[in-house]
Subunit: 358 residues, 2 copies
């Protein structure tokens, strides 16, 4: 059966009502809408059709209808109004971001926090490595007779450091030669490509008897392996305010999944695409998300990193609004991450290009 225009209007009304009330929607409620010049009986007939088509569901005979995942899908793909951020909303976001953004390092956490505060849903932010992760350059700074700071400049443009202490003392000369050896032999290699034979060789070359080379190599490996990929969660307890998670068990399962699972990290755009993706209920791969909705935005970050920022909520979530927020913020993140240091927040403007002159 094809979706008539009228059915579409009814479906849209049902989804939107359900999104805001979380209660099954009855025919009368829809008929009450002044835009809908139909009696409740007619609506009932249409609703019966929509149910037969699998777009609506009935919790039980005498309850109203709620949208099925397929129903949401149609809503998201075809019916949903683009949520245009109002000037106030963008100002709100800009204000929130500006206050928080201090360093690229905490950018993730802050973005997640902003999103979760704006949407009242839990949000997560993460980065993933898309290419090789290697050291581009080593710098060793000798602080005193037994302390050396190693600074690793990674290929993605970030730097890491570690204070290394050698209680027996370490020769200035050794430090310098070690820098040379590592810059020559340990750059442009991934963690996997560094093996113990190389480390032993370096030790021999250096005449290193205090394990300095081994320490530096192990720092290198752990830095590369930690993979720059981080995950930050915010606002998880917001779940508990939602009617669908009044069941403690359900809430617990989802929270655990969010805090623990690294499956979130595998959920990203296919082949590094960018943009906003919406996953409804069973469309999610993870079992724990089968009756939740996920909206996520992917954006490029630094050289070969990718950032993902996402929101998890009940299936009935305000997809239009959340998607708009995410895409806006992802855009901002991208700009900031490309900006110079200290990161200056670019003046983000509302996404719409229309005249804001009302």
């Amino acid at each position: 059966m094809e979706l008539s225009e009228r059915k579409r209007r009814i479906l849209k009304a049902i989804v939107e009502q359900y999104i805001s009330t979380a209660e099954p929607v009855g025919s009368k409620a829809i008929a009450a809408d002044p835009e809908m010049n139909l009696s409740s009986a007619t609506i009932r007939n249409e609703m019966a059709d929509l149910t037969a088509m699998g777009l609506l569901e009935q919790p039980h005979t005498s309850a109203g209808r709620i949208p099925s995942p397929q129903g949401y899908r149609i809503y998201v793909n075809e019916l949903m109004n683009e949520h245009r951020l109002s000037l106030e909303e963008t100002q709100e976001i800009n204000r929130a971001l500006k206050q928080k953004m201090s360093q690229l390092d905490s950018l993730l956490a802050d973005a997640g926090k902003v999103v979760s505060e704006l949407t009242s849903y839990p949000a997560y932010a993460l980065t993933t490595q898309v290419g090789r992760r290697t050291v581009q350059r080593y710098d060793l700074i000798q602080v005193d007779g037994e302390t050396v700071i190693a600074v690793l400049l990674l290929e993605d443009g970030t730097a890491c450091n570690r204070v290394m202490k050698f209680p027996g003392g370490i020769e200035k000369d050794l430090v310098q030669r070690m820098g040379t050896v590592f810059n020559a032999g340990f750059t442009n290699l991934t963690a996997q490509e560094i093996d113990s034979a190389m480390i032993r060789a370096a030790e021999r070359t250096l005449g290193d008897e205090i394990g300095a080379a081994a320490a530096l190599a192990s720092f290198t490996i752990s830095t590369l392996e930690s993979g720059g990929s981080k995950k930050v969660l915010s606002g998880v307890s917001n779940l508990l305010t939602l009617p669908e998670y009044q069941d403690v068990n359900k809430a617990h399962k989802l929270m655990d999944f969010l805090a623990e699972g690294n499956e979130l990290e595998q959920m990203e755009m296919p082949q590094g695409q960018e943009g906003v993706q919406i996953l409804i209920g069973p469309e999610n791969v993870a079992e724990e998300l089968k009756d939740s909705g996920v909206v996520l935005a992917t954006y490029p970050l630094g050289n070969n990193m990718q950032g993902v920022i996402g929101v998890v909520g009940p299936t009935r979530m305000d997809y239009a609004k959340v998607a708009a927020y995410l895409s806006y913020i992802a855009g901002g993140m991208q700009q900031i991450s490309q900006g110079t240091s200290p990161p200056q927040l670019p003046e983000l403007r509302p996404m719409d290009d229309q005249d804001e002159s009302r």
Copy 2:
């Protein structure tokens, strides 16, 4: 009224039973204990006394008794057996710590995680600054014509870095002179002591027209201000498995408090003492914790940092066990943080010095 030996035994039995069942304890249940050669009627009389003394409470007339906060206090101070970690427990902890401890940086998070996994209560770990926080030394590494990495060695022995980009290019000479100027003029100062006049003066001295000095100074200030103090939470969703937090509202409030509030950070040992502290119900300052229990351990960390690791749970929490875990782990953290790099986990032994030869 003085606490007779018998009353103490009965109080202890009640607290312990309540800790494990979370149900009000009746006289019969206590009388059933073979160690307690008394009839339920006698116990009832004693319980009535204990209630009059304010050590027990009655949810309603025909329910059993539960310990009052004062009752817990007496239990914790006088009655509780030191929980001696068994060999298995320490092995378990050692195994868990060893697996996770990689870098001092993530040490906190890992310790919290271990604790929350072991206790099934939410745990938090944080560090606070106890003394002045200043830069001890600046190192500027020029990577290419427009990129400089600034490495700040702080007075507490940690190092921070930041990649600074100057799109218009930056002179080698300027970088070098800036290092000299900052090492001379910006070390041993707290964030508050650096003012804009100083920055302008440095800019003039350097003939800096691209804001390099301002960027470095602002990095310095934000580093010093961020105060090395971090907070990491783990296992918050564990709350939801506990009977006292089946009420979603209660759980939500506490979770929010844990995630948001920085009041946790103000809860530490008076004047930098070390050791394990137990706060029961209303003994907590924060309103949100008035009917929870908190166990926290404080330990020195680095030069003038202090680490705190704590567990939050229902008032009825197994204080003996949690306190034992925390003090053990805090000891380990202290050792690790004083160790050389890469941090090697010292082989922690059970706290008891008695022969483990069963």
